[in-house]
């Protein structure tokens, strides 16, 4: 790292200073959960090759660790990080100064405590049989309140915005923060507290699963992409007037795609067909997103320009992941294709593509942008940034090839063996540790005042 890259810390803007505390809390806890989840992911990847690995103790059996990993990743890493990004983005765009930062802090603490308790219960084997609803239902009310306290500030910021145009990022953030608590509450009621009868339970769960991934994770991440592209490239969004159609079709069709993940199940045929139609109609918002993102970046060497910008480099990978996901999801929801990939690693690959290669990469890019703004410091080591990007990029691409290709082979050849993803999972852990060392260095150096980053 060259000496001239070092600059002394600068003053925060009033808006940034008002949200700095909760944003740092959310980011710090998100990074913690990310490292934990990636460590457990390595163990579960080994267990898929060698069943007996750590199998002697019931705490560390595959079933519990796998559930723990996915819960920590979604509710620990993704959700905490999106709390931070949504809050920072919305207050920046509306020039909102957060007066009650302590309330947001309380929300973050409650959310993370309930997650810790839920994770403990999962390890003890007390879990529900619904993917991403494994945590015991007693904690649901607390985590719901925690979510409201932590996540609803963008809505408050929005309601106090200066009059004028509402930028598309704000729509997506507002939509996602309002949709998730409703979805979560209804799903807890209909799946766990007073379970709906028969197949309706599975239908509600699929609705929750799609809403969680598309309307909370993806929607928040799309908001961030809409912000960082014009912000970092200095261009305006191409064909911006299409954004209204894109937004409404995205929110309209996304929550109908649940049955498309349940094709071939004993759901009434028309429900399944509605899911298929919704999955294919999702191509409409995805086409608009592709026009906006790639159309903005593609002309006048924009891609290579973005490649030289840390935030945009991550965002660029994420954009391709999002578009690929939209295409693959539509194709894999057609009945013929779905019959092959159902129950295979292909579905795991699709989920990885959305929640990791898209959402997590956007979060990484956003963190590289936001953390300096709210700490007033620079990233400690560019080498670690490169290590982070390349190990995660290589890992995620090879993981996608392994799961999508391997899943297709499983389905078409009716083979039972699960493709091994040990190498990319390990590579992800390395990348995440590199990222988190860099980020925590930043978050902690502010706390111990007087500390200035030193250079090798």
């Amino acid at each position: 790292m060259s000496q001239d890259s070092y600059r002394p810390s600068f003053n925060l803007s009033r808006v940034d200073a008002s949200v700095a505390q909760p944003v740092r809390l959310f980011f710090a806890s998100a990074f913690l959960w990310l490292v934990l989840a990636s460590m457990i992911a390595v163990i579960t990847a080994i267990q898929l090759k060698d069943v007996s690995f750590l199998g002697g103790c019931s705490l560390t059996t595959y079933g519990r660790l796998k559930a723990l990993e996915s819960n920590l990743f979604t509710y620990g890493w993704l959700t905490n990080a999106l709390f931070a990004i949504n809050l920072w983005l919305m207050s920046s765009l509306t020039r909102f100064e957060l007066k009650n930062a302590w309330l947001a802090n309380v929300g973050g603490v409650v959310w993370n405590l309930t997650l810790t308790y839920g994770a403990y219960q999962i390890l003890m084997g007390k879990m529900n049989g619904f993917s991403l609803l494994e945590m015991p239902k007693e904690v649901a009310l607390a985590s719901w309140l925690g979510f409201l306290l932590a996540a609803l500030w963008p809505a408050v910021a929005f309601s106090r915005r200066p009059t004028g145009h509402v930028y598309v990022s704000q729509w997506y953030i507002l939509g996602s923060t309002l949709v998730f608590p409703i979805t979560f509450a209804l799903t807890q009621l209909l799946v766990l507290w007073c379970p709906a009868q028969g197949v309706l339970q599975a239908l509600v769960h699929s609705w929750y699963y799609q809403n969680l991934h598309l309307l909370w994770f993806a929607s928040s991440a799309i908001a961030a992409v809409y912000y960082f592209i014009p912000k970092e490239s200095g261009r305006t969004v191409a064909a911006y007037y299409l954004s209204t159609i894109g937004f409404w079709t995205f929110f309209l069709f996304a929550s109908w795609t649940g049955p498309a993940t349940l094709l071939g199940s004993p759901l009434p045929l028309w429900v399944q067909s509605v899911g298929v139609v919704a999955a294919l109609l999702m191509l409409i918002p995805f086409a608009i997103l592709a026009i906006h993102f790639l159309g903005t970046l593609s002309w006048n060497r924009g891609i290579s320009q973005s490649w030289n910008n840390t935030t945009l480099r991550f965002v660029l990978v994420a954009i391709f992941a999002l578009i690929l996901w939209g295409l693959l999801f539509a194709v894999s929801s057609t009945r013929g294709f779905n019959a092959v990939i159902r129950f295979t690693a292909f579905t795991v690959g699709l989920e990885h593509l959305l929640s990791y290669t898209f959402v997590s990469f956007v979060i990484f890019g956003a963190a590289y942008f936001i953390l300096p703004k709210i700490t007033g410091l620079l990233w400690l080591s560019p080498k670690l940034v490169h290590l982070h990007f390349w190990s995660c990029a290589i890992a995620t691409v090879s993981l996608l090839i392994i799961t999508l290709g391997g899943g297709w082979q499983q389905g078409s050849g009716l083979r039972a063996d699960w493709p091994s993803a040990l190498f990319p999972t390990f590579l992800l852990l390395i990348g995440h540790i590199a990222f988190v060392i860099n980020a925590w260095g930043m978050l902690c150096s502010k706390l111990s005042s007087g500390y200035k980053p030193t250079h090798a």
């Binding site: 890259s5 808006v15 145009h165 200095g234 009434p268 028309w270 109609l281 942008f369």
Partner: protein, 226 residues
Amino acid sequence: MTDHPHSPNQSRRPSSGDAHSASDSQLVEVHSHLARDKEEPREGFSLLPIVVVFVFCGFGFWAGLYLTRNAAGFSSSAFDLNAPREVANDGPKAFEPDLAKGEKLYLQQCASCHQANGLGVPGAFPPLAGSPWVQGNEERIIKIALAGIAGEIEVKGNKYNGNMPNIGAGLKDAQLANIISYVRSAWGNHSDPVMDTKVAEVRKAIGSRGQYSPKEILEQHPLETK
């Protein structure tokens, strides 16, 4: 990259937080114009966004087609794409004579002459209650209902000179089967119900024809009891 030392455009980026807030409002301001005014046609103007809007309409059209073809009539009991046609066309599965529907239809179609109590009108319309004409062999009453009957007829010892039109010809098989099943079980009558397939069979056998005379009917189906 905001803080990457090798970033070529680093100098362009404001480093102080307040300047960045200002540029956020610029970002919103610029896009507010873009949302209001579409791009003017110019050299290099892309037709793509307009084309995709038409493609989207095509998507919507396809979605409607797909749903009508693959929803099995929105039935809650059809689950499999490969078997929807059977399930859908099974419709009312096996016919069950419905006496309540039969009674309702009787009151609409028959009761003006034969009366709600099935006793008819003395001297004008013969009774159905206890009448041997409606009981026993079901083909007799089906034929009378389908084609009508005219001429001097003796029912339960009384003579009538009636003219019954072919009311049954305008009813569906299942409807007529329900009415006849009702007539054959009400007011102390107790004969077996009639199936819609039987009505369809008789309807096909007699074809399109004029009213029966009582004599012709009795030749084909003599009364079992007096």
